[in-house]
């Protein structure tokens, strides 16, 4: 034991003398944290007493035995709880297989660590770092190897090979760069327009059934998509994501409409974009008595009877309102598209509209 540590000491002092160098003009940091050195070696119970050593041996082999049982259990469970058409069979199959495999792997892992910690030698050993710079002989040898490689491959001598290699290396990254073009094209004005146009009828999501104003009783909420937008359309999901509307009928006396929006509702029926102006979650948690519209993602709350202005939360703008009216057959229709871009802010959206 003591011999061992002496040897380590001798070695380290030899290395230190080899590595001593002149600090030059460097400012000496006298206040540096002192190397506390190794703490004294603590003799383990397993080294002192045969009883403890035997106990540790038993524990390690017990852990390995647990691992064996776990693996066998996993095998047994796989055949005892087979997967079938019934989805609920996934549950027991996965559970028991997982428990068995966990025991199988953890038994080995914990056993091995426990073995190393209690029974294998635990002498503290320290190794010194070497300087980064190699010895002069090693550096000369490295240069010699490079020169020999140059000679043998003819890298300097065979100009054609060298230049074509440079060329191929220069071109090689270009296909990777061109792929970045797929991040585009720029969306153009598609963020400013939706599927709604003048005269588009309001239809129910997901059936696409058009609705009449008389269908909507006070206190009702309808989840609306533009008529004519159906899953066969190629751009169905993108258009639906922009055009989704929440339709609510309130007592007309409760509506506080600004002068310019007086004609945007129909007998207390109002239609607002369902896409939150914060980060675009669907806002559809409507409270019938308070007329609050709550966004479930970040709790932005909009006051439906006051132009959907923000009364709580991080949203910066009111929800855009879809101007609606009825056609000659009594169906609800849009007077136009939304008059401002729906959804969250984007890079070149003006702040005002």
């Amino acid at each position: 034991m003591t011999e061992n540590s002496k040897e380590v000491e001798l070695q380290s002092s030899a290395i230190n003398s080899e590595h001593e160098y002149d600090g030059g003009l460097r400012v000496a940091n006298l206040d540096a944290v002192k190397d506390p050195g190794l703490e004294p070696h603590r003799v383990r119970m397993t080294d002192k007493s045969v009883k403890h050593e035997k106990a540790a041996v038993r524990q390690v082999s017990l852990l390995f035995a647990v691992s064996m049982i776990g693996s066998a259990f996993a095998l047994w469970a796989y055949f005892t709880f087979p997967l079938s058409e019934n989805l609920s069979t996934v549950r027991l199959n996965t559970l028991y297989l997982g428990v068995g495999m966990t025991l199988g792997l953890m038994g080995i892992g914990i056993g091995a660590v426990h073995w190393a910690k209690t029974l294998m030698p635990d002498n503290e050993v320290s190794e010194e770092r070497h300087l980064t710079r190699g010895s002069d002989e090693k550096r000369a040898a490295a240069i010699e190897i490079l020169n020999a490689a140059n000679q043998e491959s003819g890298f300097t001598r065979r100009k054609l090979i060298r230049r074509t290699l440079y060329g191929s290396l220069a071109l090689f990254p270009l296909p990777g760069i061109i792929l970045l073009a797929d991040l585009g094209p720029n969306p153009g004005d598609s963020l400013r327009h939706t599927f709604w146009k003048k005269g588009t009828r309001l239809a129910k999501d997901p059936t696409g059934i058009e609705i009449k104003a008389s269908d909507i009783t006070i206190g009702s909420v309808f989840q609306i998509i533009p008529s004519g937008l159906n899953p066969e359309n190629k751009e169905y999901l993108e258009e639906k994501a922009k055009a989704a509307v929440l339709l609510v009928r309130v007592d007309p006396s409760e509506l506080n409409e600004t002068e310019e929006r007086k004609g945007w509702s129909y007998q207390g029926i109002v239609a607002y974009s369902k896409i939150c102006t914060h980060v675009g979650c669907p806002v559809a948690l409507y409270e019938q008595q308070t007329h609050h519209l709550l966004c479930p993602c970040h709790q932005s709350t909009f006051d439906l009877v006051n132009g959907c202005k923000v009364i709580f939360g991080p949203a910066a703008r009111p929800l855009p309102q879809l101007p609606i009216t009825v056609d000659s057959e009594g169906y609800l229709i849009a007077q136009s598209d939304f008059l401002e871009p729906v959804g969250p802010s984007f890079w070149d959206r003006s702040v005002k509209s």
């Binding site: 609920s88 549950r91 428990v99 966990t102 660590v113 999501d205 269908d215 019938q288 308070t290 479930p296």
Partner: protein
């Protein structure tokens, strides 16, 4: 005293204790199971007779009129009940929400105060005052519709408040959408047609009676079938699952890391 403490310390340091702690952690994480079972109560038909209306009026005057007014015309404390319909009375009274114990952000479900007959009599009385949504036809409460289309309708019209698994969720200022795992088919139907408290109305033009039956079928399926993926953790998604991962699993990993680095004694 000292010896006892050192003995306890010794026990705490022993690898066995660590093994026990880790195994307990594993057990908690891996094998939590709850059986979800909810029974659907049988449907009741309400037939309006004059005796019922008279009885209902008596019960109303004794229990409800102080807030809702002697003629159900409402007051500053409570809305008018004229035209709310039998379905509304049945929903509010048979779930125990009415009579309300105190005013607050929301009336909560509590033990039912009236018998089936008394509830039916009150419903008949309110129904006799003016037309309103009536007790749903039992044909639409059989939960024999298309659960898959019901699931789609539920996700479009209901899930934003009630959660895709019917686990409920928070609204503004102390209000909440209740969880639906204990709700009967009739209660679900009545809630859709009457729009109780802050829930909007879903009339038959919006969701047809057949589609309402589909939604009930979907919810009944959820009520009667436990989650395929094991423990749902309240079906609250990333909230409870994240809590479990951060506190439970991370705690376990920290324990293992401490054990790995600790010197054996």
């Amino acid at each position: 005293m000292k010896r006892l403490r050192s003995k306890i310390n010794g026990m705490r340091r022993s690898p066995r204790a660590l093994g026990i702690v880790m195994f307990a952690g594993l057990l908690v994480v891996g094998t939590g199971y709850t059986a979800v079972s909810a029974s659907v109560s049988p449907n009741r038909e309400v037939v309006r007779t004059q005796e019922q209306i008279d009885l209902g009026k008596k019960i109303f005057l004794a229990n409800c009129a102080s807030c809702h007014g002697k003629n159900a015309e409402g007051s500053v404390n409570a809305p008018s009940l004229i035209g709310v319909g039998e379905a509304s009375v049945d929903f509010q009274v048979s779930t125990g929400r009415m009579p309300g114990a105190a005013s607050g952000p929301q009336l909560e479900v509590k033990p039912v105060q009236f018998t089936l007959e008394e509830t039916a009599a009150m419903a008949a009385y309110i129904g006799s005052l003016a037309d309103g949504p009536s007790i749903p036809d039992a044909a639409y409460l059989q939960a024999n519709g298309n659960a898959s289309s019901g699931g789609e309708l539920f996700r479009i019209n209901c899930a934003m408040c009630h959660n895709a698994a019917g686990a409920g969720g928070a609204l503004t200022q102390g209000k909440y959408a209740p969880q639906l795992m204990g709700s009967s088919a009739k209660t679900i139907y009545e809630a859709m047609i009457t729009g109780p408290q802050n829930m909007p109305v879903f009339n038959d033009a919006n969701i047809t009676p057949e589609q309402k039956n589909d939604i009930i079928t979907y919810l009944t399926y959820l009520q009667n079938n436990s989650s395929v993926g094991g423990e749902e953790l309240g079906s609250l998604g990333p909230v409870s699952e994240g809590l479990m991962a951060w506190l439970g699993l991370l705690g376990l990993l920290v324990i293992i890391a401490v054990w790995l680095a600790a010197k054996s004694n």
